[in-house]
Symmetry: C2
Subunit: 648 residues, 2 copies
């Protein structure tokens, strides 16, 4: 809590490669399938040609069309990340020509939003609460920054800087400006990126203004509605908690409202805590994080229980089958936790990041890379399926940009520190104290918990290697060049092969003079675990989930016969004693599955009987569990994570 | 199924008295507290003075005001029933003066609806779907029939007959009539009553028309909406299932839509099966009854799971805490089952009636007689309480009229038959073959299962006494004048003290020459039972309820310490072996309570932990269960019927 300057610096994704069986093919599919697929969809739905400014649209337009600029903006970001790691002249040309189209659409004053230029020019800046106008600007800025960083080409960055200048001239606390901010946070974190790309401090100041002004009284959204002639009391969501504008950010006690908005806002709050050395923002972020992680987070890293608000409800209200758990929200959760992790390297943030990454995020995309979940419930009666596109297509390009820059989550560096947050076979290049250091992981993670970390230094170099101990890991061993850690007689610390080892905040810290050819063998025990929810989570009382390593498992209908999954119970003792792990390269792109015995309710005698004075008996059946992220890639049917533990 | 003429005739409530500790004080409280309380509320909310036709009301008016005539109409019915058993000059004068007011409000053409006379005369008969116009007529007719039967005074009956004549002249299948029917069934069953009171067959024909026309194509509600200039597709409930008008009644496969509407309609359908000797209507009623009782009925006799439609949802969708289970719907369920029971005396209908009566109906009124539940959920987090009145006050006067005529449910007569459907101490007078017969029950039912039935005949008389064996009763004994039933050597039947005894359809049939002074001792074993729901009821999986006799029990917070009730589990073996019944005259007006041991989740170690790999342990606690109907009469708090069976 005390740290308000980040001690860690993420190693950029451009410096991180994967050559494993898990991420490498997914990243390749993202590049070769998902990104082209999304462009075709954006074209087909007029979101590219919208920037030609010659479309017609009814008024009032569906809200999903009003914020349509954000979808190709995220695509530019994804495509730029892809170009940064995989040069591709055709994609480069496509991005460049679309960038030109965007620039051409920009108005003389810098304004750049196709809906309000073409369809409702008189409504510009009139409904920040509902119409995502600054949200679209934010995504265009993120796209422009990514494009500049990938290509070195400044034209799109400069155009969006001019738009940011207009926004800065329009909104602010100065008397000649409007005290507005966006109903959907996004521009705040984008402006921090723009500040870093341009070094122009006005953008940081504007982001700070947007965060500081949010929720102040008199509430801007009330005033804005009155100015439009609307009754503020008729706001459909009933409360500004929906857009985190009910009270000023620093006064918020719980994480509330629309989940994507909450985590995008908190990403910016975390950025600004660091940029402005503002402990009140760090405390705010920590407070809302604690509420989230102890009361409102799905086991999968999904967030937001409610469909009607796509958002948070009450503490401990975590129904499985009706979970909303939007993919975008889980992505935002990853972005926020990645930022929090950089302050001082506390594994709890990486734990949330990893939980989200391997479960509620990865479930968002099909194995073929061309179908996507918007919602990621933790159980399904069989009617929930990925689609190639959505009327509101926010999630698919969000998935694409996240996968295209995945490497950024894995490593950080510090003054004399090299942090390994996540595990996966591949290589990272970084500088420590001006020296090139490389790190290679050799591992079958997430299917096995053994990781060989090879350190590449040109000459001996002293630094601390920080290896994360995930929250799921209850036993581990570490060895340096073959020698296991042992307790030093002279110290509280452990000693290992000429170095010191300590453990805190969920990391093993290995300090030594690293030599060319050094290797660390890190073994995390990865048994199949049962997971139980706090008794206050009423929807999950008497139920249990299966987890192995970072992977949350589920039962899917196709593997478990004709039996309705809610009729199946699994005895936790059976899991501990008899469940088997089986790695299947031929299944679902290569997954480890769990097999064991369960019980199923014997329904005989229940025909046309609704109540009776005898419980059901049960009988033994074989059950198979697969990774949750991989469900709905075969014959469609039921799915369930949280299983009953009693047959009757 | 084959019987389409009723073989049984209910003994009128005027012939049935109670002198027990259970019903007698409740009926007295209904007469002395509830009926006066309701009149004051009706007066205070302008529902009495509305008939002076000089009120002002905004347009559009709230729907609950549009159908406001139905509330005092039900009060007249309740008050008339009360007058029929307890002459009361003051109440008589009050009813008479209100009857005059109603008569005075009637228009020259017979029309009689205060809203459409005063506020929207141009909208008369324009929105039968939504505006309850014929529903109000139905309740006024029921009130008028009751008033006539109680007082012999014909003026209100004649006024409502004129209104019925107008309705008959307006609606029907003849070319000069409108092919309409009411969105909310009620007038159909009222017209059958009016037919019996007046012997005018046109009212029976009109009721038949309303039932037959319902759901025919082209759908009247579509045509009516178009005639108003409304888009039928914009019907708020989306489907005419809501008002059971999606297909013709005889083609309906499941019981659907608004629950009160469904059971009011089915009461009329059952009436018309008998009146018109129509097997298709009997089959329809039976079919929908089977769907209800095997798929859609709460343990308490509540019906209708959904709040938004006050209605049915899907088979087996019976969530406890969010159950709507409107009191009016349970009353309608009793009315329908009472009608079905009269065909041939099958106990299954009386089982539903008894379940509803002692649980989901009786919960509707407080012990003080002046507070009412509209919704009767099967669990509460502590925020559900009875109120003295409601914006939509349909339930309170419905409760009053049901209690004021309660005796009608208890007995029937047939050609040579005397049926005892329900048990309760008191006396009934009836005629069998022109002979006066009296029957007296001496019992502490529902708290004890022993019933002494004393037969009063002036001279020996041969008939069959039918004693119901409730579905909850698994063991019983019967003795006539002290001699227990024994198997006859010469017959499949059992012999008892000079008569024959057979058992089928859930009744004991005792045929003999009854003598003055004869008495039957009937002992129903009444242990505390555990009740389990069909495994398809997902909300109740792994849970169990407690029942003793007809009474469903619940845990209430005030009896069970500071423990949240969803954290408590009860072992069914404990119930069988160790639970104690304790009768407490000092508690809740005199109830038998259940006491035993349960388990409560040990929440230690869960603070700020949402998931973990170890289940909770549990510890033993004392639990006390009270009758469900009596909850929310003391310190407010949680309530729960369906208990978990496992501590973790």
């Amino acid at each position: 809590m005390s740290t308000i300057k980040r001690q860690l610096e993420p190693v950029p994704f451009t410096q991180v490669t994967f050559d494993d069986g898990f991420w490498a093919p997914r990243l390749e599919r993202n590049r070769t399938v998902t990104i082209p697929h999304l462009y075709r969809q954006l074209e087909a739905t007029g979101r590219i040609s919208a920037f030609d400014l010659n479309f017609q649209r009814p008024v009032p337009a569906p809200i999903v069309l009003i914020f349509g600029d954000s979808d190709p903006a995220k695509w530019i970001e994804a495509a730029s990340y892809s170009l940064a790691t995989h040069p591709d002249p055709a994609l480069d040309a496509l991005v460049d020509s679309f960038a030109d189209k965007i620039i051409h659409a920009q108005q003389p004053d810098g304004y750049l939003n196709t809906h309000f230029i073409v369809t409702q020019p008189e409504m510009r800046w009139r409904n920040l609460r509902d119409w995502h106008e600054l949200y679209c600007a934010g995504h265009l800025i993120e796209g422009a920054v990514a494009h500049y960083q990938a290509t070195g080409e400044r034209k799109l960055l400069e155009a969006l800087s001019r738009y940011a200048d207009l926004i800065d001239a329009t909104f602010g606390s100065e008397p000649d400006k409007t005290r507005g901010y966006c109903g959907h946070p996004e521009i705040e974190l984008a402006l921090v990126k723009l500040y870093h790309a341009t070094q122009n401090p006005r953008y940081l100041k504007l982001a700070t203004y947007f965060v500081d002004e949010r929720g102040q009284q008199p509430n801007y959204f009330d005033q804005e509605a009155q100015a439009r002639g609307d009754d503020p009391a008729k706001f459909w969501a009933k409360t500004y908690e929906y857009c985190q504008a009910h009270v000023p950010v620093r006064e918020q006690k719980k994480i509330v409202g629309h989940a994507v908005r909450a985590v995008y806002l908190l990403s910016a709050v975390t950025d600004l805590a660091h940029e402005n050395s503002d402990p009140t923002l760090r405390e705010t972020s920590e407070r809302l994080w604690n509420n989230l992680v102890t009361r409102r987070l799905y086991l999968t890293g999904g967030i937001g229980a409610a469909h009607n608000t796509e958002g948070f409800t009450q503490d401990y209200d975590l129904p499985d089958e009706t979970a909303y758990a939007e993919t975008c929200a889980t992505i935002g959760l990853m972005l926020w936790n990645h930022r929090m992790l950089q302050f001082s390297g506390e594994s709890k943030y990486a734990d949330v990041l990893e939980r989200a990454l391997y479960n509620g995020f990865l479930s968002g995309v099909s194995l073929d890379g061309a179908h996507f979940f918007y919602e990621n419930p933790l159980a399904s009666a069989g009617h929930h399926h990925r689609q190639g596109w959505y009327t509101c297509p926010c999630c698919p390009p969000n998935i694409a940009r996240t996968l295209a820059s995945l490497g950024k989550f894995f490593y950080s560096t510090g003054a004399n520190d090299l942090w390994v947050h996540l595990y996966g076979q591949g290589t990272a290049q970084m500088q420590l104290n001006g020296q090139e250091v490389s790190l290679r992981q050799v591992t079958k993670y997430p299917w096995e918990g053994d990781v060989r970390v090879e350190i590449g230094v040109a000459s001996p170099q002293r630094f601390t290697l920080h290896l994360r101990v995930p929250e799921w890991c209850e036993r581990w061993r570490v060895a340096v060049n073959g020698e296991h850690a042992s307790r030093s007689v002279s110290s509280e610390q452990l000693a290992v092969n000429g170095g010191q080892l300590s453990v805190n905040d969920g990391y093993i810290h290995l300090t030594r003079d690293w030599q060319p050819g050094d290797a660390v063998e890190y073994n995390m025990a990865m048994p199949t675990q049962t997971v139980w929810a706090n008794p206050a989570v009423r929807a999950l009382q008497g139920r249990m989930a299966l987890r192995r390593g970072p992977i949350v498992y589920c039962l899917e209908g196709v593997d478990n016969g004709e039996i309705m999954l809610d009729r199946i119970a699994i005895d936790p003792q059976q899991v501990a004693n008899e469940f088997q792990v089986e790695h299947r390269e031929d299944l679902l792109g290569g997954v480890s599955i769990l097999r064991g015995k369960g019980k199923v309710v014997d329904e005989s005698g229940w025909e046309d009987t609704l109540y009776r004075s005898q419980p059901s008996s049960s009988k033994s059946i074989d059950v198979t569990a697969i990774p949750y992220f991989a469900w709905d890639n075969r014959t469609s049917g039921e799915m369930r994570i949280w299983m009953r533990t009693r047959g009757t």
